[in-house]
Amino acid sequence: MRRIARALSLAFTLMALPATAQMLPGQAQSVREGLEIGTSTSEIAITSDFRGADLTIFGALTNTDELFLAIGQYDVVVALEGPRDYATVRRKERVFGIWMNTQSMTFEQVPESYSIASTRKIEDIQGLTTLSRMGTGVGIDHMTLSPTGYVGNAGSISDFRNAYKRLKLSNGLYQRDTTGVRFVSSSLFRATLKLPANIPDGVHIVHAYLFKSGDLIAQRELPLRVVKTGVEQAITDAAHEKPVAYGLLCVLIAIVTGWGASLAFRKD
């Protein structure tokens, strides 16, 4: 309940913002448009029954130009980018009748998860292509995937890139929703991002981009922490931080279980 209340109060605060902007009609040309965002929560907890969640992001445009607004020249793209790590894509081939991994390619520091929502289809927002040329990489299709190490056959890079994106989309770690951002008033928008059940834990970043006639004019970032909570978190932490004690505990449980069973079922 409190979370909803917080989100609502944020929404109302944001709704008040454009009113102040409209009070300065003469300066609208000289003052740049601004973008403010807020999330419904700053932390997502993965509990043992976590089946995925929706993240709602509220945002407001400030100093907007009435005319551009009326003809729909403003576009908003919101993306949740997961923690980055190397990713290795492997390709199987049939060798002596058996399918085995023969080729592999490792991509540098790519987000483990990526969920994007926009007001329109990304391809229709022209500025994004210029953005991807600049290497910012908004959207799954424009994501920078640069291979590390030795790349044997340059022609196969695009095969591996496409496979990477396709696999990530099919297992739900990458998601896109071309209607996920909706304007609730002329300058207030709400974006809903889907978080998959297998979302990696760590610090995610909410990116919001504002486009005016296809040009990027403002962007904002907010961190979002995804944490495994309770027992799950304790177990994962223990396994990685105190592996020897964790291993001992596993063995101990096994010995107690086996011994206990032989005591409990002893035929006397």
Partner: protein, 309 residues
Amino acid sequence: MTVYLPIAELSVNIFIILGMGAAVGFLSGMFGVGGGFLITPLLIFYNVPPVVAVATGANQVVASSVSGAITHFRRGTLDVKLGTVLLMGGLAGASVGIWIFSWLRRIGQLDLIISILYVVFLGTIGGLMLAESLRAMRRAARNEALPLKRPGQHNWVHRLPLKMRFKKSKIYLSAIPVVGLGFAIGILTSVMGVGGGFIMVPAMIYLLRIPTNVVVGTSLFQIIFVTAYTTMVQAATNYSVDIVLATFLMVAGVIGAQYGVRVGQKLRGEQLRALLGLLVLAVGLRLALDLVLTPDDIYSIAVGGPSSR
């Protein structure tokens, strides 16, 4: 009811895991095997990553061999000295096995090698078991007596140096083949997540000519330590032991085993072995199919790369 496995990073149905543990425990009690060679493939079929399935399988075997070894210790059918010599080889083998395991994982061939090893071992053991039990059944039908086997008293194994006297087993045997056998099984424990009893027992009987009565107890004794050691090292190097999964499997497994023992005593030996042989062959065949059939997707992703860890 679903439960989240923190290491496997997977939500699973708790009843399927408990059922799996109980069924394998039942079979292991019925046939007197550790069950590791069934639990690991079953976990892989249930989408548990092979890395986690192997490490957790080894942990599960600790529990089932502890309760088995205690029984044998009480009956006096456990040769601690022979077990200790086996164990020295076993620990060395398990260390080498872990190294191979991590290396295979790094080059991306781990899943393949695990599958191939399982297909080879399950196919061989299942086939031999089935053939042997069918022969025995045919003999029983014709009312023939068991052919009396009198193997030669000595083979090449008994000409090796470094002989030791094992009082409980009443044999005088070179330590080299014992350590060697332990070493080989130790590698399998790390790479396949099995106790290795299904290979060690026949090897001890036919190759080392150790009296049958101490073989099972002694192999269980050394399996406890090798699998416990493997669990520890897997936890320390690959972080791949899932304590939640292991606990469910173990609890269901040891209970299932007790009922399996009772049922096993009522059934006839040949039929029992034929059934186990069929089951083992079926699991092997399923794994073989996965290797040969065209996969849904020839690409796969692994998090991490050469320089990230």
